[in-house]
Assembly symmetry: D2
Homo-oligomer: 161 residues x 4
């Protein structure tokens, strides 16, 4: 699988969300491709026409597969991630396979990536053939957590991408 | 594409839901395959071990692609459809590509198949690579409505199935 | 608080769903009022005009407060419960305060009552002023689980009812 | 009803979202109270400790009733609004009655405020006794649209606030 891009919507850089997303990315592609850390863009996301923001949007649109990762804030994805996704035009992710990934402190919000994050990606035109993935913060580097999900998800991704 | 099965969750037989589902089925496969009209099973769905119910469940599980169609009741899919899906064991739709289709009297519930019906199919293990489809009752036989959706959905279905 | 009615949407009678709902009912009203066990109505819910079904529907509509309880099947409420709710006409729960309650084997589906069950009750016109309540099967009789939820919910219910 | 605060999550100031929110506010309180236009805060929302942002958060928390208004971006509320809500601590809206309001160009996303915006407010501890409100852009000043919703919502708000 080629052309994997990972977007991390945690307002803090070097988060466990980023670590979990990198763990997954490393299992999907070698090398795992670029990581867009939205924390590094910060207020530029709410200004107009910052070239780093434009580059990040272009990278996501050009990807074959994109991991869209967020921590769980208020039982759903972060505003920071949504601000970034709001900058994409309609159907910008047509032809892109997207994997919704959310990381949470506890298990109670495990339905959030399927019920809340995936629909945003679908609205943007992405193909989301797998179950959305929810990972506990404490499991961010536990390979078996990702492998269990990949047992069904990898064949789905391989066919779609 | 082969082995298409259509499930219709309208409590009334010969509904516009069924007509819309058949319109879609005819565009996905020739011949379009069997249609499970849950209205014909009725109370047997809430009894135990009816052989027609068992046959319908087996047909869905053996399908390559399944259209899961429901009218919109109380802003979501029908209880009749969910009673049928509740009879499937965990992961029963693993390896099956599913298309969530809802039919409604007006446009206000257009998000229901994406936000409410698709997650049930994903929970059952189905691969749902396309946008969910919402069709107005009055459009049940309008080919262009289905063709517009198929423009993005057909390549997604073809890859996944 | 008076005129409390409890609806239990578990296909098996005498379930932990029913037990959890009764625990809650006993905390909301003395005596806790009638319990509609949909398991006892069974196939009659999918037939037409059964007098016990009609009586159950009338009881719910006449209630001041209704607890609507379901186990978690396929990551959401049961088809059995939805079949019952589908029999109510539009806005049938206008003026009724409703409490969505779901019981699950594990914590992963804890968002289901808020994201999936409450909207059905709101669509029917009910007033749902509280957080929806999710209770683990193993906690069905743990008073502190209900008391923690009631700390914020009881003032909300008291004002609305 | 006193102490009404309105939050507008449109990245453009003087939007039809703001106009719709003001129409509703004028029907709920006289005078209708302060309006927090998140567009005016802009990048400060993603920086740390801006005093205008702090003042806006404090105003929302101190309100008796808050209208939380957003245009529809990618079939849900805006990232800008969520960035603001993410700044609130857990349960920050306990004791506050919240009205979710979304404005959209067409009717297809009418379920979004109920299914997507209201749960965020509930997670923050708000009391949301009414149906969420979805208003077409073209109806932003049509009194009858708001009056129809208020027929059921006003008694619910009056009891809760």
């Amino acid at each position: 699988m080629t052309a994997l891009v990972t977007v991390v919507g945690n307002p803090r850089p070097a988060s466990r969300t980023a670590a979990a997303a990198r763990t997954l990315a490393a299992k999907l592609a070698q090398p795992p491709g670029p990581v867009v850390e939205l924390a590094e863009l910060g207020p530029a996301l709410l200004a107009a026409g910052d070239p780093r923001v434009e580059a990040a949007l272009a990278a996501v649109r050009a990807a074959e597969v994109v991991i869209v990762a967020s921590p769980t804030f208020k039982a759903t994805y972060t505003g920071l991630l949504k601000v970034f996704l709001d900058l994409l035009p309609a159907d910008a992710l047509a032809g892109v396979v997207a994997v919704p990934l959310m990381v949470g402190a506890g298990p109670a919000h495990a339905l959030a990536p399927e019920l809340l994050l995936k629909p945003v990606l679908v609205e943007l035109g992405a193909t989301c053939p797998t179950r959305a993935l929810y990972v506990l913060e404490s499991d961010y580097d536990k390979e078996e957590v990702f492998d269990r999900w990949l047992a069904s998800a990898l064949p789905q991704l391989t066919r779609s991408a």
